[in-house]
C-alpha cells in the first residue's frame, strides 16, 4: 500500500502530516492525519489513535484541538483517521449527518449496499495500525485510543473488545450505550461537557454507563465539565489532560516539568 503524503507542517518541533492511501477494507481512497513528535526521528514512539465524531474528517482534530504541544512534549505520535469511507457513491450515504458519510460508527456493516465499504471497525482495528506500524517509527506494542462522541463509541468497541490491545482509553462526550463490556484493566478518563446539547437531549447517557461500569468494576473517572458543550473548544480545553493520561500508560517518560526527584 503506497502512502501519498498530502501535506506536512512543522508544529511544536514535530511534523503534522496528512496521507492518502488505497484502503483494502474500505475499497476507496482514505486519508488520515499523523503527527510525529520530535522524538520520532530517533526512537520508536508510542501511538495514540484518535477517532473523531460524527461529520468530522481527518482535519478537524488536527486543526482545532491544539493537542500538538502536549503530544510533542510527551513524545506521542497521534494518528487521526477519517470517520468514514468517502466518495463511494453509495445511494443515501449523504442523506443524513448521522448515517453514512461521516458517520461510520466504527463498525463493520453487514448489509448491502454498505458492507463493501463501511467496514470502519476492521479499518481502525487492523488495516490502519498495520499501515502505521510499517510506515512510521512507532512502537506496535504501545497503542492507546481516544475519541470524541461517535469516536468514543469506536473507542469503546475497540478497546473493550480487544482487551490488552490498547494501553489506555479516554473519551470526550462519548455516546454510550449499555455494553456488555468485559472486565477491563483499563483506567478510563472521560470528559463530558455539561452543556453538551447531546447530553441535554438525552442522546448521551452517562449515568447508565457509569452504573454499568461501576458494577463491572471498570475504573473510570468521569468529569462533567461545567459550561462546556460538544465542540472542539471543549476538546481543546481538556486534550492535555487526556494526553497526559495516555502518556502515563504509554510510558512516555518525557515530562515537561522537572518535578521528578532524583531519588526515584
Amino acid at each position: 500500500m503506497a502512502l501519498t503524503q498530502i501535506s506536512s507542517n512543522k508544529c511544536f518541533g514535530g511534523l503534522q502530516k496528512v496521507f492518502e492511501h488505497d484502503s483494502v477494507e474500505l475499497n476507496c481512497k482514505m486519508k488520515f492525519a499523523a503527527y510525529l513528535p520530535p522524538k520520532a526521528e530517533t526512537e520508536k514512539c508510542p501511538a495514540l489513535y484518535w477517532l473523531s465524531g460524527l461529520t468530522s474528517t481527518e482535519q478537524n482534530f488536527i486543526s482545532k484541538s491544539g493537542y500538538h504541544q502536549a503530544a510533542s512534549e510527551r513524545g506521542l505520535a497521534v494518528i487521526a483517521p477519517d470517520t468514514s469511507p468517502r466518495g463511494c457513491n453509495i445511494k443515501g450515504e449523504d442523506e443524513s449527518w448521522d448515517f453514512g458519510t461521516g458517520a461510520g460508527f466504527y463498525v463493520d456493516t453487514t448489509e448491502d449496499p454498505w458492507k463493501t465499504n463501511y467496514r470502519m471497525y476492521s479499518y481502525v482495528m487492523e488495516e490502519l495500525p498495520q499501515l502505521i506500524n510499517a510506515s512510521f517509527l512507532v512502537d506496535p506494542q504501545r497503542m492507546s485510543i481516544c475519541g470524541h462522541s461517535m469516536g468514543d463509541h469506536g473507542v469503546l468497541i475497540c478497546a473493550l473488545k480487544n482487551p490488552g490491545n490498547y494501553k489506555s482509553v479516554s473519551a470526550f462526550a462519548p455516546i454510550w450505550k449499555a455494553y456488555d463490556a468485559t472486565r477491563s484493566q483499563l483506567d478510563i478518563l472521560i470528559d463530558q461537557g455539561k452543556d453538551d446539547q447531546f447530553l441535554l437531549g438525552g442522546q448521551l447517557l452517562p449515568d447508565n454507563f457509569i452504573a454499568a461500569c461501576t458494577e463491572k468494576k471498570i475504573p473510570i473517572v468521569f468529569r462533567l465539565q461545567e459550561g462546556y458543550e460538544h465542540s472542539y473548544y471543549f476538546i481543546a480545553t481538556f486534550i492535555t489532560d487526556h494526553i497526559r493520561h495516555h502518556a502515563k500508560y504509554l510510558n512516555a517518560w518525557k515530562t515537561p516539568n522537572k518535578r521528578i526527584s532524583s531519588g526515584l
Binding site: C213, I220, V221, L224, R244, N257
Partner: protein
C-alpha cells in the same frame, strides 16, 4: 645515668642483647681515636684525682693558682687539647678564685676513650669525697655558661663519634677466613669445619655473618643515638634543676639576711633606748642625791656654826642657853631623798624573741592566681580548675574551695566544699550540670595559709537534650527536629550533628549546625538517604555529651497527626498515624470553641514539615466510611467543615444508598466527578512549586483529580471522619511513578 663496672665494649664481639650504656665524655672537643695504652690511662686516672684533690685544697691562694695553671697545661696536653685554645682559657678562667663566692673548682667531665676503656660515670673526684665537696660544684653563673658551651660542642659531635668506630680487626691469619662459625662466633676457613672443634657447629657464609654483624652495629648505633639524646635531655634537666636550686637558695639567703638584720637593728635600737633610759635615770637620781647632799652639807655647816656659837656661849655663861632649845628642836632631815637601789627594770625582749623565733620560719605564701575557665574543659559533672603561683614561695599544698554560685540572696551562705591538692590544678567531680560554681584557692605551707585568690566562676557543661522523636517531621530535602532542653536553666545554644547512616565510620563525616538558639531546627538534607541525628547543648563550660540519636529517612514526607488539633471524638494512635472515631461520644453541647482544636468538624490535622517542594502521602480508607482527606492552612477555621472555606482543599467520600459519591471541595464548591471504582488507598500529592494538589487511587495508579491552589503559606494534611471508622496514614513513601506525571 648508669654506673658500669668492667664492661668491655667490642661491638663486633658483644652479643646484641647485652648492649650496655656507652660512657660518653660530653665535654669532648675533638674526635680522638687513639687507643691509649693501659699504663697511660692508669696514670691519667691518678693524675686526675690528684688534681681534684689539689684544686679543692689549694683554691683561694696564689700558690694554688700557679699549680692550677700547671695542671691545666698538663690536662690540655694529655687530652690533646693543645689546639683548642678556647677551652683552655675556659679552664683557666674557671680556676681563678673569686672573692666571696664559692670556691668550687669547675666540674670537668672526663673524656672517655672509645675502645675498651671504662670509667666511673660518677665524677672522678668520688674518691675525694672525704675532702668534703670534692666533686665539682657549680660555682657561679659564669661557670654554668661555660659548661653550657662545652655541652654544645658535644651535641653536634655525639652522632659523629661512633661513626669513627673501627671494628678492631681480627688477628691476621695465614689464609683468609671464608665462613663464619656461629657457635664459636669466629671466622674460620671452610676446611676447618671438618675439624673436630667445629664439626658440630653451625656455619654460615662469611658475608652473611658480616651482614648480620653490620645489622647489629646499625641497631646498636641507633640505640646509642637514642641514649645520647636521653642523656642530653637529662643534662638539660639537671641544668634547670641546678639553676632553680641555686635561685631558691639565693632567696633563702636573702631572706635570712634581711631577717637577721632586722633582729640586729631591733637589738641595737633596744640597746640605745635602754642605755639612754639608764643614763637619764642615773642623772635623775644623782641629781636628787646631790641636791640632798648639798642641802645636807649646808645643814651641817649650820649645825657646826651653831655648835661653835653654843660653845662660845657656854664659856661666856650667857643666859641665852634657853634659846638653844628652840634650835635643837629643829629637826634635820636625814632621810635620803633618793633610793640608791635600782628598781626592777627587766628589759622587754619579747619582740626580739619573736623575731628570733621567726627567723627560722619561712613566710606564709602569697595568694595564688586562679585561672579563668578554659573553653570546652568541662563535662556535665566536672570542671578542671587551674591556678598559678606568681611568686617563689614555698608551697606544700593548695586548698581549693567551691560552692554553687548564689542567686543574689546574700542571706545565708551555702557551705563550701574543700579539696586539698598538691598540683596547681584539680578536676572537681560530682557537680550538677549547667551550673555555675565559684572557686577560690589558698596556698599552704608550714607558716600557714596564703590569702585567698580571687573567686573565679566555672561552669559545668549542660546535660544532653532529649530529641522529641515523635515530633520529627521530614521530607526528601529537609528535617524539622525539636527537642527538650534537658536542663532546668537556660543554656547558650544547641548544636545539631548529622551523620549519614549508610557510611557511618567510613567517611566519618559529621555535619554540625551550630549556634541554634531555640529547641528546634530545620536542617537541609539530601534525598534518598538515612541520617542519624544528635543534639548537644552548649554553655560557657563547653558542650554536653550527645543526646540519644534519632534516625531520619529522606524518603517521601514524614509527619504525624497533631493531637492538639484533634476533635474530642477522635482518638489518635500511639504512633500518630491512625485516627479512629468511635461510636460513643461526648455531647456536642460540651465542646467549646477553640482556635487549635476542631470542634464542629470531626477532624484532625497532621504536622507537615514547612518546606516547599512536593510531598506525597497515602491514606487507607474503608469503602463504607464517610471521610474527607486533603490539606488546609494551619489557621483554618476549626468550627467549619473541611472544604467549606477557602483555607482548605479536600476530597470527600460519602456512601449512601449503596452509592459512592465523591466531591472535591474548596470553598464549598466541587466539580462533578464520578468515580466507578472506589479507592481503598488514596494517594495525595502536594506540589508547592506548581501550586497543585492531586488525588490518586493508589491501587489502580489512577489519577482522580487535581486542584490548582494558591498556596501562599504552608499547609498541613487534614482528615475527618463523618461516620465512625478509622483512617490510617502511610507516609515516608517516595512518589510512585504514575504520580510523577502530575
Amino acid at each position: 645515668v648508669e654506673e658500669e663496672s668492667g664492661q668491655e665494649l667490642g661491638l663486633d664481639r658483644s652479643t646484641p642483647k647485652d648492649f650496655h650504656f656507652y660512657h660518653m665524655d660530653l665535654h669532648d672537643s675533638e674526635d680522638r681515636l687513639q687507643l691509649f695504652p693501659e699504663e697511660n690511662t692508669r696514670m691519667r686516672k691518678e693524675v686526675v684525682q690528684a688534681e681534684m684533690a689539689n684544686e679543692s685544697r689549694g683554691a683561694g691562694d696564689g700558690k694554688a693558682q700557679r699549680d692550677l695553671q700547671e695542671e691545666v697545661d698538663e690536662l690540655v696536653h694529655l687530652y690533646g687539647l693543645e689546639d683548642d685554645h678556647e677551652l683552655r682559657d675556659e679552664f683557666v678562667d674557671e680556676n681563678m678564685p673569686r672573692t666571696g663566692v664559692s670556691e668550687y673548682p669547675p666540674y670537668v667531665m672526663k673524656r672517655r676513650d672509645p675502645a675498651r676503656e671504662q670509667r666511673d660515670w660518677r665524677p672522678s673526684g668520688e674518691t675525694a669525697e672525704a675532702e668534703d665537696l670534692g666533686f665539682g660544684g657549680w660555682g657561679s653563673a659564669g661557670q654554668c655558661q661555660d659548661l653550657r658551651e662545652a655541652y654544645r660542642y658535644t651535641h653536634g659531635r655525639a652522632s659523629e663519634e661512633y661513626e669513627c668506630y673501627v671494628i678492631p680487626e681480627e688477628e691476621d691469619e695465614e689464609e683468609a677466613a671464608d665462613v663464619f662459625c656461629v657457635t664459636c662466633k669466629t671466622p674460620i676457613r671452610a676446611f676447618q669445619k671438618v675439624f673436630d672443634e667445629h664439626k658440630e657447629h653451625e656455619v654460615i657464609p662469611l658475608n652473611e655473618a658480616l651482614e648480620s654483624a653490620k645489622d647489629e652495629i646499625h641497631k646498636n648505633m641507633y640505640k646509642l643515638e637514642k641514649q645520647i639524646i636521653q642523656m642530653e635531655n637529662f643534662a638539660n634537666h639537671l641544668e634547670e634543676v641546678f639553676i632553680t636550686v641555686e635561685e631558691n637558695f639565693g632567696k633563702q639567703e636573702q631572706n635570712f639576711e634581711s631577717h637577721y638584720n632586722e633582729i640586729l637593728e631591733t637589738l641595737a635600737q633596744k640597746y640605745e633606748e635602754k642605755i639612754q633610759a639608764l643614763g637619764e635615770k642615773k642623772k635623775e637620781k644623782l641629781e636628787a642625791l646631790y641636791g640632798q647632799l648639798v642641802s645636807c652639807g649646808e645643814n651641817l655647816d649650820t649645825c657646826k656654826e651653831l655648835m661653835e656659837t653654843i660653845e662660845e656661849m657656854c664659856h661666856e655663861e650667857k643666859v641665852d642657853f634657853i634659846k638653844l632649845g628652840k634650835f635643837l628642836k629643829a629637826k634635820t632631815d636625814v632621810e635620803i631623798s633618793a633610793q640608791p637601789e635600782f628598781e626592777d627594770q627587766t628589759l622587754d625582749f619579747s619582740d626580739v624573741e619573736q623575731l628570733m623565733g621567726s627567723i627560722n620560719t619561712i613566710p606564709a605564701p602569697s595568694a595564688p592566681v586562679i585561672n579563668p575557665q578554659a573553653p570546652n574543659s568541662a563535662t556535665g559533672s566536672s570542671v578542671r580548675v587551674c591556678w598559678s603561683l606568681y611568686s617563689d614561695d614555698t608551697v606544700e599544698s593548695y586548698q581549693l574551695s567551691y560552692r554553687p554560685v548564689q542567686d543574689s540572696s546574700p542571706g545565708k551562705d551555702q557551705a563550701a566544699f574543700t579539696v586539698t591538692v598538691k598540683e596547681t590544678y584539680c578536676s572537681v567531680t560530682n557537680l550538677v550540670p549547667n551550673t555555675q560554681y565559684e572557686f577560690w584557692v589558698t596556698a599552704h605551707n608550714r607558716a600557714g595559709p596564703s590569702p585567698s585568690s580571687e573567686h573565679a566562676v566555672y561552669m559545668t557543661a549542660p546535660s544532653p537534650p532529649i530529641i522529641k522523636t515523635k515530633e520529627i517531621r521530614s521530607c526528601e530535602e529537609a528535617v524539622l527536629i525539636c527537642w527538650e532542653s534537658g536542663n532546668l536553666n537556660p543554656v547558650d545554644s544547641y548544636t545539631v550533628e548529622l551523620t549519614q547512616a549508610e557510611s557511618p565510620e567510613a567517611s566519618g563525616v559529621t555535619e554540625s549546625v551550630v549556634g541554634i538558639p531555640t529547641c528546634e531546627s530545620l536542617v537541609q538534607l539530601q534525598p534518598g538517604r538515612s541520617y542519624i541525628i544528635c543534639v548537644r547543648a552548649l554553655n560557657t563550660g563547653g558542650p554536653s555529651v550527645r543526646s540519644e540519636p534519632a534516625t531520619v529517612h529522606t524518603i517521601g514526607s514524614y509527619f504525624r497527626l497533631n493531637k492538639d488539633t484533634c476533635h474530642p471524638w477522635l482518638i489518635i494512635s500511639e504512633d500518630g498515624l491512625t485516627v479512629v472515631r468511635s461510636e460513643r461520644r461526648i455531647p456536642a453541647r460540651e465542646l467549646s470553641s477553640s482556635d487549635t482544636r476542631f470542634t464542629r468538624c470531626v477532624a484532625v490535622m497532621g504536622n507537615l514539615i514547612p518546606v516547599r517542594g512536593h510531598h506525597y502521602w497515602e491514606v487507607e480508607v474503608d469503602e463504607h466510611l464517610d471521610y474527607t482527606v486533603g490539606v488546609a492552612f494551619e489557621d483554618v477555621t476549626k468550627q467549619e467543615d473541611l472544604g467549606a472555606n477557602c483555607l482548605s482543599w479536600c476530597m470527600r467520600h460519602t456512601f449512601a444508598s449503596s452509592r459512592h459519591r465523591y466531591e472535591f471541595l474548596h470553598n464549598r464548591t466541587t466539580p462533578d466527578i464520578r468515580i466507578t471504582v472506589p479507592p481503598k488507598k488514596i494517594g495525595i500529592l502536594l506540589d508547592y512549586e506548581n501550586s497543585k494538589l492531586s488525588f490518586f487511587n493508589v491501587d489502580l495508579s489512577q489519577h482522580l483529580y487535581t486542584f490548582s491552589c494558591q498556596l501562599h503559606e504552608f499547609v498541613h494534611p487534614c482528615f475527618s471522619l463523618e461516620t465512625p471508622g478509622c483512617l490510617k496514614v502511610h507516609n515516608g513513601i517516595s512518589m510512585p511513578k504514575h504520580v510523577t506525571f502530575y
